[in-house]
């Protein structure tokens, strides 16, 4: 009995926080737009009993999904989001790995402080931190003023409202999600393996490639997924730091919802986005499971 309750609890959680909202979104994606409150039809009217229920299901169709295929905007936005997320993940890895490596090799008594420094930015609102990047990157911003005063550039650089600013924003925001899993993988690594390799005549660089990287692979994979998955649907960073040429599905979804007031099409975009994300999420799940089994 107790066991059943224990198993039931997480499933209830999943039902309430994932399945119910998803079914609502799915239902709206099968509806039609209308100028009313709420702005779609049909809505379920239980007071009419069976007839109401039948009318309700008769009003649902896949029209909005068909519409998504007729317009190239949507698949271009999906592809562009995938591309931005992939490049940003790679950049985050390149920046994050050396930091995690440095942390894992730092003296023991420094590590809690370093860990603290990585987590510290979370104490400030995410929105405020992205806003402050607008101040840093703008044409008259701090970065340009610094570079101009150092004489490194003669004309201010245009960074804000370009894809470069979006990448900077994503790398900055998601860096801790990359550092932490890699750090925890590196920290557990047995240092004697490296000593053994050196004793056997392996150079330090070669030992890094042959031992450190493979042993931190699980951390790298976990970090990459933790960055990649939320980045695909990212909305705040591209809309604040990106310009008119940054096309991301999160922004398209926002526009469908707010500018077009077309909740049904916006919901259809969201459903497709979820389906696309299921693949990396399942891969991530597998990786985690394999790791647990290896340790278990």
């Amino acid at each position: 009995m107790r066991r059943a309750t224990l198993i039931l609890l997480p499933y209830l959680w999943l039902l309430a926080l994932f399945l119910v909202p998803f079914v609502i979104v799915l239902k709206i994606s099968l509806s039609d737009i209308e100028l009313a409150i709420p702005p779609y039809t049909p809505t379920l009217d239980l007071s009419e009993g069976w007839k109401g229920l039948r009318d309700f299901f008769a009003g649902l169709d896949f029209e909005n999904f068909v519409f998504l295929t007729t317009d190239d905007l949507y698949w271009k936005a999906y592809l562009s989001s995938l591309q931005i997320a992939s490049i940003a993940t790679l950049c985050t890895l390149l920046v994050g790995y050396p930091i995690a490596y440095g942390m894992a090799n730092a003296p023991d008594h420094w590590r809690p402080t370093l860990m603290m420094l990585v987590i510290l930015p979370f104490w400030t609102s995410f929105l405020i931190r992205v806003y402050s990047w607008m101040g840093i990157l703008s044409t008259e911003g701090y970065l340009n003023q610094l570079l101009l005063s150092l004489g490194l550039i003669s004309e201010p650089l245009t960074i804000l409202n370009t894809p470069v600013a979006v990448y900077i924003g994503i790398v900055y925001t998601y860096l801790p999600f990359m550092i932490l899993p890699i750090y925890s993988a590196l920290e557990r690594m047995d240092g004697s393996l490296l000593e053994a390799a050196e004793d056997l005549g392996c150079s330090r660089i070669k030992a890094f490639w042959l031992i450190t990287i493979p042993l931190s692979k699980t951390g790298i994979i976990a970090g990459c997924f933790l960055v990649f998955i939320p980045t695909i649907g990212e909305f705040v960073i591209p809309s604040l730091l990106g310009g008119s040429q940054t096309l991301m599905i999160g922004k398209v979804l926002w526009e469908e919802f707010f500018n077009n007031r077309d909740w049904p099409v916006a919901s259809a975009v969201a459903v497709v986005l979820l389906l696309i994300l299921i693949i990396p999420i399942v891969l991530f799940q597998r990786n985690e499971q394999k790791q647990r089994e290896a340790e278990g």
Partner: protein, 361 residues
Amino acid sequence: MRNLMLTTTATLALAASAASAQEVRVYNWSDYIDEDLLTQFEEETGLDLIYDVFDSNEVLETKMLAGGSGYDVVVPTGTFLQRQISAGAFQKLDTSKLPNLDNMWDVVEKRTAKYDPGNEYSINYMWGTTGIGANVGKVQELLGEDAPLDSLELVLNPENMEKLAECGVHFLDAPAEMIPMALKYIGEDPDSHDPEVIAKVEPVLMAVRPHIQKFHSSEYINALANGDICVAVGWSGDILQARDRAAEADNGVEIVYNAPKEGAQMWFDQMAIPVDAPNPEGAHTFLNFIMDAENMAAASNYVYYANGNKASQEYLIEDVIGDPAIYPSQEALDNLFTTTPYPAKVQRTVTRLWTKIKSGT
């Protein structure tokens, strides 16, 4: 940003002070009121005022159509108001609770009746034009002394825009403003609802699109004032605020606002009460407070927009009432046009066209 933080702090402070007292929740445009008026309202009426801001009609409309927004007073622009009235989003005003209605200006009321027949659902807050703000020094440096600052040629002629791209151009992220403007430029009826006519603006806007740094409806105030950009298509009072912020900062940036000589769009922001407002009584109190001649004048003097309140005009400072960019001459008024909302099917074409223009696909 500054405003956002101020408002948030104010809201927090209010929420903390007395949850038991009656609350009035107002949802207005950003940078659109003298914040002293908010404290004054609380002191005079004893009501708690919760004041939130937005920067696009679309966001407001989404909240209205979702229902249960929790706001007592909202401020949509005329065309959006008309559509939301037909969706059943607002309640009729109880004129017996609004003695200050006598202060309103018939000239404006006649025009707003186009959106809200008989002005049954709304009162005018402020009105203005959509035009061009320019950093005079930078634009003249790039285009020469005779740069067409008061013409749509400045922002819709690709030759000019190509040069201006260097110093940064922002457009409003508002299809209902930008498409009529482009139609006016090519000599079509700016209020056209014919999809074939509307489609004619696509090549016009696509030609200048690569030179537009951003489509946004509020960032340009600060960006113009700081000198981050040199041209913005925006709302009259916002650009005049940018002008004053630059003057205050004394950073050598000189901003001018011009309603395009080809004809500019005139718009009206209307205060209305949502059908499901939690405190309609308090909402009427707020509307009546705003329609007080001195209060309305204080708001206009602060944000540099004209209002629809005749009685307030004697309290307006010369900088506002005497500025033809704010209160245009009769001749200039005749050159302004208004638009009506698009029918649902045309709306789809318009927004799709707009997405295409913004994203390039």
